[in-house]
C-alpha cells in the first residue's frame, strides 16, 4: 500500500492501464499538458490534447470505442458534459441497442464536480443522476483514493461506456492505495466502511466521510450507525442497501446532488417497495437544494450536507419513529 491523493491514484490507474493495454488512449482539454508523465511514457498518439470542444471529444471517443480502441476522455468539469451529451447518451448509450448489438463502446468519461473550490454552478453541478437515467451507461462516483484507482481501472477494462465522476472536494485527500496493478474494484458493488445495527447511512463521494463522521458522533448517544458507500450509482448495489435496512430498519440517504428524482429518491422507493416490513421509521433524504451551486464559500458549504444534519436526523428517527412533523430534507434548511 502507498499513501497518495485521489488525483495521484487516478493518474496511477491511467499509467497502469495504458501499460497493460495498447488500445487505451487519453483525450482531453490539456490531457497531455496536465499529465506530462503519461504524455512522456505513451507519446502524443495516445495522450492527446484536444480543442476545447466537448461534443467532438466525446463523439470521437464513441467512434473510436466502436472501432477497437478504449478511449478515456477528460472533460474537466461536470457541467461541460452537457455539450457532450449527444455523443454519450444518444450514441454511446443507445447505438448498441439500436443496432441490435452490432457494436460496443468501451470508453470512460471523466468529470469533476462538487463543492470545495467555490467555482460556482457552471463548474460544479452534481448531475450524475441525469446519466443514471440514460440507458446503456454506467455511472461511478467513488469517495477514496483506493476506490478511485480500483474503479477507474475497472472502468477502463469494462465493455460498456462509463461516466466517472470525481469529487472536487476529495481530489487532494490522501489515503492508502493498493500497489498491485491487478487489484481492481468491481463496478456495481457498494462498500461498507462501518457496520452498525440501528440506522443505515448511505452516501457516495464526499458524503461518505460526512456519514462516517456522523456515525462516530452518534456513538456516544448509544446509536449504532452503519455506513454504505455506494461508489457505483449504475449499476446500483440494491442488495447491499436492502440487506442493511433489513437489519437496521432505518434509512438515511445523503448526497450533494439535489433531491428531486435523485439517487436518494430511488433508494427511498426501493426501501418502500422491497423493505417496507423492515422499516421502523420514515426514510430520510438529506440532499443539496434545487439551485445552482453557489460560488460564495458560505453558500456553497450551506448547500452541502454536513455531519450535524445527519446526526440530528438519525437521533430524530430513534426518538420519534412515527414522526408527525415533516423531515427537513434540504441540507441547507436542516443546517440553517
Amino acid at each position: 500500500m502507498t499513501r497518495m491523493t485521489t488525483e495521484q491514484a487516478l493518474t496511477q490507474a491511467l499509467h497502469e492501464e495504458m501499460r497493460r493495454d495498447a488500445r487505451v488512449l487519453l483525450l482531453g482539454e490539456g490531457a497531455a499538458t496536465k499529465r506530462p508523465g503519461l504524455a512522456r511514457e505513451f507519446g502524443p498518439a495516445r495522450v492527446r490534447n484536444t480543442p476545447l470542444a466537448e461534443a467532438i471529444i466525446a463523439g470521437t471517443a464513441v467512434g473510436a470505442a466502436a472501432s477497437g480502441l478504449r478511449p478515456v476522455i477528460d472533460l474537466l468539469f461536470a457541467p461541460f458534459l452537457t455539450y457532450a451529451m449527444d455523443a454519450l447518451i444518444n450514441s454511446a448509450g443507445k447505438l448498441r441497442y439500436l443496432s441490435g448489438g452490432q457494436c460496443e463502446f468501451p470508453l470512460v468519461a471523466l468529470a469533476m464536480t462538487g463543492s470545495g473550490w467555490c467555482v460556482g454552478g457552471q463548474h460544479n453541478h452534481n448531475l450524475e443522476a441525469m446519466f443514471v437515467h440514460a440507458p446503456g451507461l454506467q455511472v461511478l462516483m467513488p469517495s477514496t483514493p483506493a476506490d478511485s484507482k480500483g474503479l477507474l481501472k475497472a472502468a477502463i477494462r469494462e465493455r460498456n461506456p462509463v461516466l466517472f465522476f470525481i469529487d472536487l472536494g476529495l481530489l487532494h485527500q490522501e489515503g492508502e492505495v493498493a500497489d498491485d496493478p491487478e487489484e481492481i474494484v468491481p463496478i456495481g458493488v457498494a462498500a461498507l466502511p462501518r457496520q452498525g445495527t440501528d440506522v443505515t447511512l448511505v452516501g457516495y463521494a464526499k458524503t461518505v466521510p460526512v456519514c462516517l463522521q456522523a456515525a462516530a458522533e452518534l456513538e456516544p448517544h448509544g446509536v449504532s450507525a452503519e455506513v454504505i458507500d455506494l461508489r457505483s450509482l449504475k449499476p446500483l448495489d440494491t442488495a447491499c442497501v436492502l440487506d442493511s435496512v433489513a437489519r437496521t430498519g432505518r434509512l438515511i440517504v445523503v448526497h450533494e446532488a439535489s433531491g428531486l428524482c435523485g439517487i436518494a429518491a430511488e433508494l427511498g422507493a426501493l426501501a418502500a417497495s422491497r423493505a417496507f416490513g423492515a422499516l421502523r421509521a420514515p426514510v430520510v433524504r438529506i440532499t443539496g437544494p434545487d439551485a445552482p451551486a453557489a460560488s460564495s464559500w458560505a453558500l456553497e458549504q450551506a448547500a452541502v450536507p454536513q455531519a450535524q444534519a445527519v446526526v440530528d436526523a438519525a437521533l430524530g428517527l430513534m426518538a420519534e419513529p412515527l414522526r408527525r412533523t415533516p423531515v427537513v430534507e434540504d441540507a441547507w434548511r436542516a443546517q440553517a
Binding site: 498518439a45 480543442p51 450514441s91 448498441r96 457494436c103
Partner: protein, 320 residues
C-alpha cells in the same frame, strides 16, 4: 479482372434503379401503415458514386436517410425491409427500424439519426484506423446533409479531422432541404465548401445528380486521402425529390424549383446517357426493371413473413 467502363456504368445504373425501386416501395409500405421512412429519392447518384469509389476495407457512417448508402454498399433489400418493419431478420434485429440502420458486415459501422451525430462519431472511427485498428490504409466516409452542416458539431468534426490529419472523407449531400426548411433560409448560398476550406480542408463541389462526375470526384478524393492521410470534403449538389418523410406532400416546395430538379433526375440522366451511347437498349432496360421489381417484391414478402422480435429483446442488448 477489371470490368470495362461500360459494364461498370451499367452496374451502377442498375444499383440506382434498385435503390429507387426499394425507396418507392418503402413509401408504399408506409402508405399501407408501415413506419415513416426518410427517402433519398433524387439523391441516389451521390450514394452510388461515392460508395463505388470506396473499398471493402473502408468504413461508412450514415444518417436517417440511409437506404441508398446501404443498398449501394450491397445491402440485401430483404433485410433492409425487415428492419424497417421492425422484424427479427432486419440488419439490427428490428431494434433500429428505419432510422439508425447499421450493418457492420458491410462496413456501415455507425448510423445516427441525430442530425450531425454521424459527424461527431466519424473522426473517432478514422482515428482508430490511423492508430492501426482495421485494415491498413483504410479510410472512413461520412454522409450527412446541408442541415447537419448548420450544426456546431460540423465545425468541431472538420477542425479535429484537419488538425489530427484523419483519413476521413466528408460527403455533404446538399439536397437543398433541412426537414421542412429550404437551406437558403438558414445559410449563405456557398457556405458549405467555404466553411470546410476555412478549416484548411480541400473541397470539391460537384453536381450530385451526375453519377460519373460524383464517382470521378470521389475517386480523386479517396486516392488523395490514402496518399496523405488528410481529410477531404465533397459537396454534392442534389435535391430531395420527395418530402422530408413518409407521405409529406411537399406543399411547401416551390413548384418551379421541384420541376427544375425533376428534369435533372440522376436516374433518367444516366439512362439517357447510356441509351445515347448505345449501351442500353429497351430490351435490356426492361429485363433489368423486371428483375429489380421481382427482387423488391420478394423483399416485401420476406419482410412481412419475418417474425416480430421476442418481447425479451425489449431490454437486450442494452449492455455488452
Amino acid at each position: 479482372m477489371n470490368a470495362s467502363p461500360t459494364q461498370t456504368l451499367l452496374r451502377q445504373f442498375q444499383t440506382l434503379l434498385l435503390i429507387r425501386s426499394c425507396e418507392e416501395q418503402l413509401v408504399e409500405l408506409n402508405r399501407q401503415g408501415a413506419p415513416d421512412t426518410c427517402s433519398s429519392i433524387g439523391q441516389e447518384a451521390c450514394a452510388v458514386g461515392v460508395i463505388d469509389a470506396l473499398e471493402a476495407r473502408d468504413r461508412i457512417l450514415t444518417n436517417h436517410r440511409s437506404a441508398a448508402h446501404l443498398i449501394a454498399r450491397g445491402a440485401d433489400p430483404k433485410r433492409l425491409f425487415a428492419e424497417v418493419l421492425g422484424r427479427v431478420d432486419g440488419y439490427c434485429g428490428g431494434h433500429s427500424g428505419t432510422l439508425h440502420i447499421a450493418a457492420r458486415e458491410l462496413g456501415v459501422v455507425l448510423t445516427s439519426t441525430i442530425v450531425g451525430g454521424e459527424l461527431s462519431l466519424a473522426p473517432g472511427v478514422a482515428l482508430a484506423q490511423k492508430m492501426g485498428q482495421g485494415d491498413p490504409g483504410a479510410i472512413t466516409a461520412v454522409f450527412f446533409g446541408d442541415g447537419a452542416a448548420c450544426e456546431g458539431i460540423f465545425h468541431e468534426a472538420l477542425n479535429l479531422a484537419a488538425q489530427w490529419q484523419l483519413p476521413l472523407l466528408f460527403v455533404c449531400e446538399n439536397n437543398q432541404w433541412q426537414a421542412y426548411v429550404h437551406r437558403l433560409e438558414t445559410m449563405a448560398d456557398n457556405a458549405i465548401t467555404a466553411w470546410a476550406e476555412g478549416h484548411g480542408i480541400v473541397t470539391e463541389s460537384i453536381d450530385g445528380n451526375d453519377l460519373e462526375a460524383v464517382h470521378a470526384a470521389a475517386t480523386r478524393a479517396v486516392a488523395a486521402i490514402r496518399a496523405d492521410s488528410r481529410p477531404r470534403f465533397l459537396e454534392l449538389r442534389t435535391y430531395r425529390l420527395r418530402g422530408h418523410s413518409g407521405q409529406d406532400d411537399q406543399a411547401y416546395v416551390d413548384a418551379e424549383e421541384l420541376h427544375h430538379w425533376q428534369s435533372r433526375d440522376p436516374l433518367r440522366r444516366l439512362q439517357q446517357r447510356l441509351t445515347e451511347a448505345g449501351q442500353l437498349d429497351p430490351n435490356t432496360l426492361e429485363a433489368m426493371t423486371r428483375e429489380i421489381r421481382s427482387r423488391v417484391e420478394e423483399a416485401v414478402a420476406f419482410a412481412h413473413a419475418s417474425p416480430w422480435p421476442d418481447v425479451a429483446a425489449l431490454i437486450h442488448p442494452v449492455y455488452a
